[in-house]
């Protein structure tokens, strides 16, 4: 099954560094697998952890989070918050019974097109090895549903 499994990965990029690294990879014609689909944010600090959960709930097999190197954030220090959220997310995912290696944090400056392409390539292989994402529990699909989530007992009988 893993022979035919093509993972789908959502990648979050920072407008100032990793998105430009992706542009640079393109300009330099550096090749990487087509399994990743990128979303541009202004800063990796914009990454709400629910984005990651939402991506997994909506059918992604993995989520790549990219930002500026520590100390090089366009907004001074917001990537440190990304790092904190990433570490928290890995714990949350583990608690939810989801392999934490489905998410990955990569620092990539605007000059590191080759590095970004390599990290994407590695991540695709990493997710391929993990297999398709099948959550054990239903995952709410949008934040408004989180507010009126049903009690666990009721949901179990639904």
């Amino acid at each position: 099954m893993n022979d035919t499994f093509e993972p789908v990965i959502i990648g979050f990029t920072c407008n100032w560094c990793s998105y430009r690294a992706a542009d640079l990879a393109g300009t330099a014609r550096v090749k990487y697998p087509p399994n990743i689909r990128l979303i541009r944010l202004m800063c990796s600090g914009r990454l709400d952890p629910t984005f990651v959960l939402k991506a997994l709930a909506s059918g992604a097999d993995g989520v790549l989070i990219t930002g500026c190197h520590p100390g090089e954030c366009h907004y001074l220090e917001q990537n440190y918050k990304t790092l904190r959220r990433y570490l928290m997310l890995r714990r949350v995912l583990t608690q939810m019974g989801i392999e934490p290696d489905r998410i990955k944090l990569v620092w990539a400056s605007a000059a590191e097109g080759v590095k970004l392409a390599q990290e994407i390539t590695d991540m695709v292989e990493q997710i391929r090895a993990l297999g398709p994402f099948k959550p054990r529990y239903p995952m709410p699909l949008n934040p408004s549903e989180v507010a009126d989530v049903q009690p666990v007992a009721e949901r179990g009988t639904a």
Binding site: D23, Y32, R40, M42, S58, K81, E112
Partner: protein, 679 residues
Amino acid sequence: MMSKINHSTAERVGVYVCHCGSNIAGVIDVEAVAKWAAEHLKDRGVVIARDYKFMCSSLGQELIEKDIQELGLTRVVVAACSPHLHEATFRVACQRAGLNPYLCELVSIREQASWVHTDKHAATEKAKAIVSGGVERVLHHTPLDPLHVPIHPATLVVGGGIAGIQAALEIADAGFPVYLVEREPSIGGHMAQFDKTFPTLDCAACILTPRMVSIGSHPNVTLMTWSEVTNVAGYVGNFTVTVKKKARYINTDLCTGCGICQEKCPKKIIDDTFEAGLGYRKAVYTPFPQAVPKYPVIDHVNCTYFQKGTCRACEKLCPTDAIDFNQEDEIVTLQVGNIVLATGYDIFDARRVAQYGYARLANVFTSIEFERLSNAAGPTNGNIVLRDGVTVPKTVGIIHCTGSRDRNFNNYCSAICCMQSLKFAHLVKERTGATVYNFYIDIRTTAKAYDEFYQRVLEEGTIFVRGRVAEVTDAARMPTEEGKLIIQVEDTLAGRQRRIPVDMVILSVGLEPRRDSHAVAKLFGISCSSDGWIIEKHPKLDPVATMTEGVFVAGCAQGPKDIPNSVAQGAAAAARVLGRIQQKEIALEPVRASVDESKCSGCRICNGLCPFNAILFHEDRMVTEVNPALCQGCGTCVAACPAGAISGTVFSNEQIFAQMEGLLLHNIERPPITEGVLT
């Protein structure tokens, strides 16, 4: 959930897929993508999907404009290149047709698909997903107006080398105030150290010093030497810059620059900055006689008074009582609208190429040392002599590419070393009549009149040996090599190893980024390449802007270049700044966070997250507010708000969630995962 996804929208979306010649169409089946969008995204509001050879051409843009008007489009998605290239183009096209520019979304299927993938089928499928993501996202766009920010007319120029001088003069001559901050006691930069400039051989001081004097006397220039920028806050149009003016221990109001203090100071120190270690300066000094400003500085590390508490010779002998040992560093705050960084370069440390023997073999010189040797105002009054100070060399070997084009050190070409080496060859020949060898890999003489200079040096009889030098040694094998430096080289044109004995070796060392370039980049909120050169906004089309609005770069800080190019870049950066100042205001992307006070619980989680102090808390109402003038739009607070009370324009939760669903084709193909699991 499904109903939300499938509800037919009232918006009318147009999708435009670009071929980009064969750049996209060579890999992606663009017609299939457009056809797929028209068919499968019909329920999502797509009323027209077209493909076109070049969407960015005027015909392509007219196509969109015509559709907006005739089909009543309310949203536009263009699938083409990176938004960093053409987002503005398509926004303006929409605006011309009467559609708010922020209702247009440019998605990248070139940099993110056709250029990076080889599997045509997979790339086409990915392009469909990207288009789908764009369509979903654009449905959640709202009409916006750009933010208009006033531009402060003053400009900060950092670095007083030739590039910074040029930039400062251009702006000052146009009638606007300039602050020129220089770390050293005088402006002039590396150019002030040179003797002659290639290819015309006019003397560097003769062409540079008039410019320096203009800076010193210009009514619009505030010159701050012996000073460093310590902090930069704010944004384009309105930067607040903190500058530390280091204590000079000279009262500049009283000092006349007579030079008596320098003459009388008993402490002599080797000058390893300006004289490259070949000459001396005093503890109170100006780096060179034509220094601007004329005031000296006291080097408190070497001054006898500061070290031992006695001496004070300068204080006693100063005719105007200008010596002030109690002076302290002064912190100055400046308001500027734009910043030009012209921080220059450092010289490659030749000791790193151990086999060339610099600092081990006495008569191995670096190019900057040779500049001082050959300079009429230098330590030897322009006499080209060996390290003993008297012997005139009979044979000289000049080694190109020291530290450049070398995978052990720097991969890049330092751009100036060929011409510099040719200049040295000419000067040695002219002044000593010595036999001169040039050891080169390739000769690169590409600018105006450069190759003619090369021909001239060839005709003067300089011997050119093609090959990278393996070693410089003093270990003689033959009597003729005794007391000489022997250059071991493979002559790749003759196809054999050669040992060439010489009296003097000049290493044409490359240029390197400033050792602190990463710290400087961080201070000004810009980025460096992996080598350490400052990254420009676009390598070809925007070489003096940086990715941070209002911060420009000129000269060697951006990459190795010669004097004409540094001057051109300085002037170009000034032109960009002047354009901004003339407009009086700049339109910025309206990417800002705002708080819905009715949802804010006053938990203050967001309060500590903003490095720009844009978040303020109203104690009376127990709500948080974001100051749009200070907000930079990073969105970190938006992501942190547990109540979802903070939203960010252009990157709202709804837009990102929608794009994600589109990218995952959740909007059309895949049933939600919840279904299968729940039953």
